[in-house]
Structure formats: structure tokens, C-alpha cells
Amino acid sequence: MGREGLRRFVQGDLASLRVVLGLAVIWIIFQSQNDRFLSAENLTNLMLQITAVGLISIGIVYVLLLGEIDLSVGAVSGLAAAVMTVLNVKHGWSPYLAIAAGILVGTAIGLFQGSVFTRFGVPSFVVTLAGLLAWQGALLQVLGSTGSININDPKITGLANTFYSDAVGWIIAVVVIAAYAGVVLSGYRSRVAHGLTGESMTPLLVRIALVAAIALVVVAVLNSDRGVPLALLILLAFVVGFEYVARRTRFGRHVYAVGGSSEAARRAGIGIDRIRIAVFALASTMAAIGGILAASRLLAVNQSSGGSELLLLAIAGPVIAGTSLFGGRGAVWTALLGALVIGSIANGMDLLALSSAVKFMVTGGVLLLAVIVDAIARRERQAAGRV
């Protein structure tokens, strides 16, 4: 690809291509070791496995864009799921109210942590580390002596266990393609209307064709097993929604600005504390939603809900897929792509029946590799005069 191409490959301009190639390599390796890996059944399982972590990663992307970190999202996801479950199972709340209460617990925690961070200037690392411990304690408190509660409500378990028929799957694919084409083409028309015609149509059409191909292949694969899962639609809806907020709205623009230079943002009249609190609230809210999906899939909450490596995977995913730990650079869809990479590795190692020892070490190695690439990309940008 030449020297210039190689530089862009490493430096992050082509980060997404790098990750997609990495994903392809991972898939080829696992498929060569176990030919069930790329079966429709296993790929459907993979989609279900990445939903919770992908949802949590969406909030993490926003926090990373600010150049901050939130270590409490795992614990918050467990606590929110536990609150929902206890209200539904022990107190007989309707599933909708119980889910709303669980999500609101997440929002409240985020508002609190964001306020402490901005009000006292405590590093977000420390605030959310304290949160990690405290909310884990709260989880144990909420669960009480039972330690584990099963979920029977069909509305809640349906979140992660509903599959659509083939026909509905195809309709979804068509709607997705039409909506994407509509957005891309209306953006182009608006530019033409303002006399900005420098851009050729060809790359836009290529992008639309690419999205159409991906949508059709994914639906075809999922239809040949159980069908398109509701959980995947929930994840995609949140990814698209928050990608829109990040890229197209004033709030999103200000998030990038604060992450790029908080001083410049402040002098431009942006209320940087308000932005920070909102982002921490968003991260905890997404953590709660992810926790609820995880509980729905597990059909229970227990003392280890939201624990183990969930937090690290939720942070590692976007970073592996190209969102910078240093703030101001990244995109919401890296939450999806990163979850796919990490989920594929975990799923493949499970298929090969590798021991936990190996799985932890491999996952750790992948994370380390990702942050090294991120750091190199940043250094290269600085060397090229781009901070």
C-alpha cells in the first residue's frame, strides 16, 4: 500500500480498516481451528453475547471522547439489573416500571459521579473507582441474603430471547438500507443547495452499497438460524442514535471540543461542566441498560452480576476499534466493532474449550496491543504537528 498508506494505516486515519482486517484474521483463525465458529448458530450466539458489553461501551465512548474514564460501569450495570429484578420479583412491580427504575438508578449514579468530578476536581479515575467499590456493595445489599434471584417475567426475559421471523428480518434490512441511503443522499442535497459541490457522488454510493451488502448478509445469516434477535436491534438502535448525537448535534460537537481542548471549549462559551456531568450520566445510564440486557439473557441476577472482566472489556472494545484514550478522537460505532472483536475472541476460545488462564492472558494481550497502537498513533500525530 506504499509508505503513505502504511502511515495512515498505523496512524489511525484508516483505523477502521485496520480493525476490520484484524477481525477477519481472528475469524479465519478460529474457523480453521473449529468449523462451527462461522456457523449461523454460533454467529447468532455471538450477537447475543456482545449486546450487553456493546451497550455499556456506547457510554464509555462518550467518556473516552472527553479524555476521561469511568471504572464504575460494570458495578452500575449489576446494581441496575438487581434493582430492576428485586422490584419486579419481590415487590411485584410491572416489568416496564421495574426496567425504568433500574435505568434511572444508573442515571442518578452518573449525575452524582459527574457532579463530584466537576465540583471537586477529583480525577474521574478516582471518583469512579470509589463508585466501583460502593456500587458493588450496594448490589450485595439489594440482593440481600439470597445472593441470586431468577427472572421469570416474560417481558424482561424477552429482551434478550426474542427472535423475529424471516419476513420481519428482511423488512428490517430494507428499512435500514433505505434509511441509510436517505440520510446520506439528503446530506448531499443539502450541500448542493448551499453551493458546496466539491464532493463526488461515487464514494457516497459505495458507502450505501457497502451498508446494503452488510445488512443483507447479516440478516441472511441470522435468518438461517433463529432469526434476527431483538437484542441486536436494541444495540444497533442505540449505536445509531448515539452516533447521530455525537456527529450531528451541538451536544456531540461540544463533547468532542471538550475532549480536544477543554480550555478552548471554555473560552468559546461552552459550559464544560454541564457537558461532563451529562456524559457521566449518559455512561451510567447505558451501563444500566447493558446490565438489564445481561440479566435478561442470564435469566437472573447474582452477586457477580456486572463483575469479572465486563468493565475491562467494555473499555477495551472501543479502544481496540480506534477510539482514543486521550480524548477527542473516536466514534460511537467503535463500541459495536470493538465488542465484535472482543466477543469473537472470547467466543472462539470458548469453542476451543481453552482454560480461563489462557483466555484472560489472550484478552489482556489484545487490550495491551490496542492501547499501544493508540499511543503510537498519538505520537505520530504529534510528530506530524497534529496534537
Partner: protein
């Protein structure tokens, strides 16, 4: 306000920081369509004077007049509301955002219609306006969608100045606009300052570089140890006279 009266006039302004008398009864004025070079040694009070006008510091004594009216500038927003824009030396740009986003930062154009509910950005309108603005300043940046971090120092300075013009100010304060720039880039920025003058703006330019000041300034004001130490018409003086006023050697009131 008569034709030759100052648009912005500072009368007898003093400012003390603890034991340091940063400004001592300074008088200073700038007219519309005039470029004033504000020069002096390190610690002479140039930055303090500009920050006082910009609302970062409030003066201990003295008064500021804008368009003949006495005004109180106690916060940066007061200065902005009057039509006084400041471009600091560090530029305060977001390197991860493109040129359009930086120019409109904090003053984004929002789409109409249903998209207004989400405060959706009207990118096409912003790009169109940014293009017009930069065109009118004869600033050439090939692609307005390039990240500001990839631009040259001169281009970054030009973007920062263009951004300050978005609120239609009448006075522009420039803090060391040519520091750390190469020769061709300095030329671009000086050309931009001339265009600000052509637009009828009052321009105050702090600079260490006397050659640059002589190139664009109509008038040169010297500060020394917090006091006004000279006020020269650029065409009727020499660099030696100005240097003498800066260093306090000989008579500086030419």
C-alpha cells in the same frame, strides 16, 4: 463621536498585582480603520492592558470609553457584547476539530424543522458561511474539513482571527499574532491584518517584532514599566526611536 475620535479609549487606567504596578495611569486609544501596534519589553504591561480591555482583569482606577460612551467591562462577556474580540497567543483552537467546527465553536448554526429538537448542526450552512468569511479575508485553506491540528501555524492564526470576526466585532485585539511563524506565514497574517483595517475594524496588535509592527501599524504605542512611554505615527518615526522608548534610553516622546 467625531470622525477622528477613538472608537475605543482607555483613560488613566491603573492595575496593581500585589507589589507590582502592572499599569500606571495609561491612556490609550484606537480608531476605527486603524491598526495600533502595542510594543514594549517583557513585563511592560502590554498583556495586562489587553486583558483589561478584554474583561479578564478589571482596572483599579481609570475608565474605558467605547464609541464615546463610558462602559464597564468586568467580564469577558461584557467585552464581547460591546464588539471587542480578542485572539490570544495560544489561539485556543480544538486541534481535533475541522476548520468549520472551530470557527463556529460555541456559536453553531442549528438546523430548522424537526431536526431543531435535537439541536442538529446545520453543517452545510456553517461551511458555506465559513467559506464566505475566509474568502472575504482572502484566506486560502484548501479544504475546510481538514483538522485544524494539521494546518500550518499561519493558517491556524488565520482561523483564530476569522473565528473572532463571527460576532461582527468592531475592535479586534491580537496578542502576538506573528510569534513563532515563518516568513511566508507571517506575511499571510500581516496581510490578514490589513484586510481587517480595510473592513473598518479597529485593530490592536501586541508584538515583539518591530519589523512586523512597522509593516502594518498606522500608529505605535510603547509601554514601559506599566506607563505609556511613547505614541508614534509609524510613517514619521524610525525603529531607533521606538527602541529608545522601549528601553528608556534618551527621549522617547518623538
Amino acid at each position: 463621536m467625531s470622525a477622528d475620535a477613538s472608537l475605543l479609549q482607555v483613560d488613566g487606567v491603573s492595575k496593581r498585582f500585589g507589589p507590582v504596578q502592572a499599569l500606571d495611569r495609561v491612556d490609550f486609544g484606537v480608531k476605527a480603520g486603524e491598526v495600533v501596534g502595542l510594543v514594549g519589553d517583557n513585563g511592560a504591561g502590554k498583556s495586562t492592558l489587553v486583558k483589561t480591555i478584554a474583561g479578564i482583569h478589571s482596572p483599579d482606577t481609570g475608565e474605558i470609553r467605547f464609541a464615546g460612551e463610558r462602559v464597564a467591562i468586568s467580564r469577558p462577556n461584557d467585552a464581547t457584547a460591546l464588539g471587542i474580540a480578542t485572539v490570544y497567543q495560544d489561539l485556543a483552537l480544538c486541534d481535533n476539530l475541522d476548520v468549520v467546527a472551530n470557527i463556529f465553536l460555541g456559536q453553531e448554526e442549528i438546523s430548522g424543522g424537526p431536526a431543531h429538537a435535537t439541536r442538529q448542526l446545520d453543517e452545510a450552512k456553517m461551511e458555506h458561511r465559513a467559506d464566505d468569511l475566509l474568502d472575504s479575508l482572502a484566506v486560502t485553506i484548501p479544504n475546510l474539513r481538514t483538522e485544524v491540528g494539521t494546518l500550518s501555524g499561519g493558517q491556524r492564526q488565520q482561523v483564530a482571527v476569522a473565528r473572532s470576526l463571527l460576532g461582527e466585532p468592531r475592535v479586534v485585539l491580537l496578542d502576538e499574532p506573528t510569534a513563532a511563524l515563518g516568513v511566508p506565514q507571517t506575511k499571510q497574517v500581516l496581510e490578514l491584518i490589513r484586510r481587517l483595517r480595510e473592513r473598518g475594524l479597529a485593530v490592536v496588535m501586541i508584538s515583539h517584532n518591530l519589523a512586523n509592527v512597522f509593516e502594518v501599524a498606522d500608529r505605535i504605542v510603547v509601554l514601559r514599566l506599566g506607563k505609556a512611554a511613547g505614541d508614534f505615527q509609524a510613517e514619521q518615526t524610525t525603529e531607533e526611536h521606538v527602541v529608545a522608548a522601549i528601553t528608556g534610553v534618551g527621549e522617547g516622546n518623538g
